[in-house]
C-alpha cells in the first residue's frame, strides 16, 4: 500500500473529524479523495502539520487528526517533545511513513533507513505511540479516536505517488470554511 491507498481507506473515519493535512501530495490526495470543510490543507510550510494540529487540539475540545509524513516530522523534530509535554487527549498525530520525500520525487528519508520515528516519539516522552503496517491504519486510528488519549501513530507504507491535481482553492477560503467547521 502507498499513502494514497491509506488515505482512501481512512477517508470515512477522517470525514467526521477535524483534519490538518501535510503539504504537497498528502493534501492534494485528501482533497481529491474527500474534500470537505473539516480538512485544513497546508499549501506551504513543510513540517508544521503536527504543530498546527496540536495548537488546534489545545484550543478547543473536538478531536484533531494531524496527518504528517516522515520527511516532514524529520524537518520539525522539535515538535515531538512539545507534543509529549503538552498532552491534548483530543489529538492524534498520524505519521504516514513511506521512508521517502514523496512530494519531491521519492528521495529516501532517514526514517526509511536507521531512524525509527516511533522510537524517537517514545524517547521524547509521548506515551501512546503505535507503529503499524499500512493495512492496519484504519483500525488503529479508530481505536485511537475511541481511546480519548493523545496518540502518535506511525503507519509504515511503501513509497509511491498517484497523479493528482494541485489545490487551487484560495488559502483564506480553506481557512475560513475550516474555522466554521471547528466552531460548528
Amino acid at each position: 500500500m502507498i499513502r494514497s491507498d491509506i488515505l482512501r481507506e481512512i477517508a470515512p473515519i477522517l470525514r467526521d473529524q477535524l483534519v490538518v493535512c501535510n503539504i504537497g501530495l498528502p493534501s492534494q490526495e485528501l482533497h481529491m479523495i474527500d474534500d470537505n470543510a473539516a480538512n485544513f490543507y497546508m499549501l506551504g510550510t513543510m513540517g508544521l502539520s503536527s504543530s498546527i494540529g496540536l495548537g488546534l487540539a489545545l484550543a478547543q475540545p473536538k478531536t484533531v487528526i494531524a496527518i504528517d509524513g516522515d520527511g516532514s516530522v524529520l524537518t520539525n523534530f522539535g515538535t515531538l517533545p512539545t507534543i509529549a509535554n503538552n498532552v491534548a487527549d483530543n489529538f492524534i498525530l498520524l505519521i504516514i511513513d513511506n521512508g521517502s520525500y514523496g512530494s519531491t520525487g521519492d528521495q529516501p528519508t532517514y526514517a526509511g533507513k536507521r531512524t525509527s520515528l516511533a522510537a524517537v516519539a517514545k524517547a521524547c516522552g509521548c506515551e501512546n505511540v503505535i507503529e503499524c503496517q499500512a493495512a492496519e491504519t484504519g483500525k488503529i486510528l479508530r481505536e485511537a479516536i475511541d481511546s480519548g488519549k493523545m496518540t502518535v501513530i506511525v503507519s509504515k507504507c511503501e513509497s509511491g505517488n498517484i497523479k493528482v491535481p494541485v489545490i487551487t482553492m484560495d488559502p483564506v477560503v480553506i481557512r475560513d470554511r475550516f474555522m466554521k467547521a471547528v466552531a460548528g
Partner: protein
C-alpha cells in the same frame, strides 16, 4: 508598574490566551509572567517556526495567540510567516527582543540586528519599536490593530527599553 506585568496585562485585556515562547534573557520577566497567568496557556516551543504553527492552530481553534521570541527568529521564520501566517491571513502579535542594538555586549547579535527592520519591511510586516519605557503604552493599540487586520505584527523591544543588560 513592572513593565513585564504591564505587557502581560495588555495581552490578557486583549483576550490573548495562548502564548508560545522561545527563551530570551531580556524577555525573561515577560515569559515568567506569561507562565504565571491562569488566563494564558503557555507553551514553550523549540523553534520559532514550530511556535508559529502552534499559534496558527490555536487561532483556528478560536483562541487569540501570541509569540515571544528574539529578532534572530526572523531569519528562522520567513517561510512560515509568508506561507502560513500571511498566506492564510492570520493575526499574530510577535513580541520580539531586539538584540544587537545600543548597549549590546555580544558582537554577533549586531549582525542580525542590522537586517531586522529591513527584513520586516520586505515582508510588509507592520513593525513597532519600543525604545523608551513610555513606548509600551502603545501595546494595547498595537494588539487591537493586529486582531483587526489579521496580520503578523512585530513589536521590537531593545536593550534601552529593558534598562540595559
Amino acid at each position: 508598574m513592572n513593565i513585564s506585568k504591564q505587557i502581560v496585562d495588555d495581552f490578557v485585556a486583549n483576550d490573548i490566551s495562548f502564548v508560545t515562547t522561545v527563551p530570551c534573557k531580556q524577555l525573561g520577566g515577560v515569559i515568567e509572567e506569561v507562565e504565571a497567568r491562569p488566563e494564558i496557556y503557555h507553551i514553550p516551543s523549540n523553534k520559532e517556526d514550530e511556535g508559529m504553527g502552534l499559534c496558527a492552530g490555536a487561532f483556528m481553534g478560536g483562541k487569540r495567540p501570541a509569540i515571544i521570541m528574539q529578532n534572530t527568529a526572523i531569519g528562522v521564520t520567513i517561510n512560515t510567516l509568508v506561507t502560513l501566517t500571511q498566506f492564510y491571513r492570520m493575526p499574530l502579535p510577535m513580541l520580539i527582543s531586539y538584540r544587537g542594538e545600543l548597549k549590546e555586549p555580544v558582537a554577533c547579535q549586531a549582525e542580525m540586528a542590522v537586517h531586522t527592520k529591513a527584513l520586516l519591511a520586505q515582508l510588509s510586516i507592520p513593525t513597532y519599536h519600543f525604545h523608551k519605557k513610555e513606548d509600551a503604552q502603545e501595546l494595547d493599540a498595537i494588539l487591537k490593530y493586529t486582531f483587526m487586520c489579521n496580520k503578523p505584527v512585530a513589536i521590537l523591544t531593545d536593550a534601552t527599553f529593558w534598562g540595559g543588560y
